[in-house]
């Protein structure tokens, strides 16, 4: 018999989607309220689901309609899925809270409604990517995700953002084209669309060595397609403009959630569709490994050259996506766990950085230029402290989330016996140094005292903007929690991966 809790994945996807549809008939204020309520409700539901699944100890399949396995559409929830959904909801809520005051200033009048429609659709597609058990449903929601992300980029109608949205669309569409081609190949050789059924067939195909080449091509198409969509280096040229000039909340959401949704889908495909052993045997992960390493170095180098604080944070995202793919490329379970932890820690720190950087530029005459930000941390203490915490976490100082993920990557590299150990450790060290150079440079800059400039400077205290300060505080707590109590999170990831198999 179906427990009531087992309906929650389906409820949360549908709630978000209908909230988006209803928002189109509301005004900006009520749309905002509806969005907040729905997000809080889904956060609670995901938390309950997570507790239920941890207690139950196994995953469950939710059959949509009453059509059984090979025909119907299915959702599937395990500990990892519920945990990711919970985490994504929290980050989404905090990003909206932290950047909310800016939205009112930055959006043209009458566009708030559209913004919340996009947010709702984005959230529903993210949840669907997390929970779905059907490859073609995943493809459709990948496209919905792309379209709503494009809306979030271009809601602020500047030349830069429209150009960035166009570049983003071109790259994304190339990625989804390759992904769809991969899915069609997979359907062609297995005859199924549900992940579990495809997996059974793939195992047989791999054992009998029929369709060896098509299977390799399929893996390559899917991996490369999703890598392009999540902005793995060299496909990142749209990213700095898109993150640098869109509204604060958009930048925080895009960097910490949108790209992570695709990566999570790739993890699901690796484990649930193709099977980890077959991926390990294929040479495709070596390509991801090499590009991941290149991204770690070149993303950081570009960030060092940047004079604009938001573009600098955006380039740092390129490097962090590189870390995640490097973890995939190691081809071990330890590497995978490190990557999943890094998805979480990067999302927590990057959205914190974007929100606090906006607070810093507020008190510096709305400038994002590096030199105008001198001493900004004294003028906006909350944002200054938050930016410092985010930077330290990105650099990988103990106590913060970033340290744990770097530690996990280093451990995973050290115990992997292949040729990948040395390059990983060397690049990890190099990239950490580069991270430290550009983040610490910024922290020192914002804490350098400067003479008061009445034209540029203003002061914001916590009382002026309590909501943002509260969101920043929660972000900081989240970062420190992830850094200090990483073991429960690790256990969750571990048992979630077990449930995948």
């Amino acid at each position: 018999m179906l427990d009531f809790v087992q309906n929650f994945p389906c409820f949360s996807i549908l709630l978000c989607m209908f909230a988006g549809i209803i928002s189109s008939a509301l005004n900006g204020k009520s749309a905002k309220l509806l969005n907040r309520c729905v997000l809080i409700l889904i956060t609670v539901m995901s938390a309950v689901l997570l507790v239920y699944l941890v207690g139950k100890g196994e995953s469950f399949v939710y059959v949509a309609g009453s059509f059984p396995a090979p025909w119907g559409n299915e959702l599937r929830a395990g500990v990892l899925e519920a945990g990711m959904a919970l985490f994504f909801c929290i980050i989404m809520l905090l990003s909206l809270l932290g950047g909310g005051y800016k939205l009112d200033l930055e959006l043209e009048h009458g566009k708030e409604k559209l913004y919340y429609i996009m947010i709702n659709l984005l959230m529903s597609s993210l949840l669907a990517l997390i929970y779905t058990n059907d490859m073609f449903t995943a493809y459709v929601f990948v496209e919905i995700n792309t379209i709503s992300a494009c809306g979030l980029i271009m809601i602020r109608q500047w030349g830069r953002t429209i150009e960035a949205a166009t570049r983003y669309m071109i790259m994304s569409l190339l990625g989804s084209g390759l992904l769809l081609m991969g899915l069609v190949f997979l359907y062609g050789i297995t005859g199924h669309l549900l992940m579990s059924n495809i997996h059974t067939q793939v195992v047989q195909i791999a054992a009998t060595e029929t369709y060896r080449v098509p299977l390799m091509v399929t893996i390559a198409l899917i991996c490369v397609g999703l890598a392009i969509k999540s902005a793995l280096f060299p496909f990142h040229n749209w990213l700095p403009d898109a993150y640098g000039y869109s509204t604060v909340s958009s930048a925080a959401i895009l960097s910490s959630l949108v790209s992570k949704g695709y990566i999570f889908l790739l993890i699901k495909i690796i484990y649930r569709v193709i099977g980890f052993n077959i991926i390990q045997d294929s040479k495709v992960i070596n390509i991801l490994f090499v590009f991941g390493l290149a991204g770690m170095i070149f993303g950081s180098l570009s960030a060092m050259k940047e004079k604009d604080i938001r573009r600098m944070i955006a380039y740092s995202s390129v490097a962090q996506i590189g870390y995640i793919y490097m973890g995939f490329g190691l081809g071990t379970t330890a590497g995978m766990i490190a990557s999943i932890f890094h998805i979480i820690s990067h999302a927590a720190s990057k959205s914190l950085l974007f929100v606090s950087a906006a607070g810093l530029s507020d008190v510096s005459g709305d400038s994002t230029d590096f030199f105008d930000l001198t001493g900004a941390a004294y003028r906006n203490k909350a944002a200054g402290a938050a930016f410092t915490v985010g930077s330290l976490s990105m650099v990988g100082l103990p106590l913060f989330a970033g340290f744990i993920s770097k530690l996990l990557f280093a451990q995973a590299a050290a115990i992997s016996s292949s040729w990948k150990m040395l390059p990983t450790l060397v690049v990890l060290a190099l990239s950490t140094i580069l991270n430290a150079i550009y983040f610490m440079k910024t922290v020192v800059r914002i804490y350098t005292p400067v003479k008061w400039n009445a034209v540029l400077h203003s002061k914001v205290t916590i009382k002026d903007n309590p909501v943002t300060a509260f969101a920043l505080f929660l972000f900081i707590v989240l970062n420190i929690l992830l850094g200090m109590c990483s073991q429960p999170v690790m256990n969750l990831i571990n048992s979630g991966l077990h449930m995948f198999a």
Binding site: V140, I147, E163, I170, L173, G177, L180, Y187
Partner: protein, 124 residues
């Protein structure tokens, strides 16, 4: 190998079209040509799907003359996938075209490189 290619000429054509569309989407400077490339690429995938779903000498999957045996008909799922895919690519094309209109109104050109240069000069 060669024989396979000849019997599956539909799939081979689809792959060639996919390559053409893909390279147009990436390499063309003109935005409209990029969008045309995108459409060629998507259509190639649908052609491939339709070819995969077709079984020679079988009917469209609509019950005719009361024949209920599944082996009399072709596989309906690829056709369903093609329909869904078409809906997706229509909406994506519409979005791309609207972005192109915005860019053209602002910069009076469709050349992506020229637009980039103008934006750099503009500063923001």
């Amino acid at each position: 190998m060669g024989g396979n290619l000849l019997t599956n000429y539909g799939e081979a054509v689809a792959m060639i079209l996919f390559g053409i569309g893909c390279s147009n989407l990436l390499l063309q400077k003109n935005l409209i040509k990029k969008i045309i490339g995108l459409n060629i690429m998507d259509t190639a995938i649908y052609l491939f799907l339709a070819e995969k779903g077709y079984i020679a000498n079988k009917m469209a999957p609509i019950i005719t003359n009361g024949v209920q045996d599944a082996s009399a008909y072709i596989n309906p799922i690829p056709s369903g996938l093609v329909l869904t895919g078409i809906v997706v690519s229509v909406s994506v094309t519409a979005l791309m075209l609207s972005l192109t209109i915005r860019l053209y109104q602002r910069y009076h050109t469709l050349d992506m490189d020229e637009i980039s240069v103008m934006i750099k000069k503009e500063g923001k």
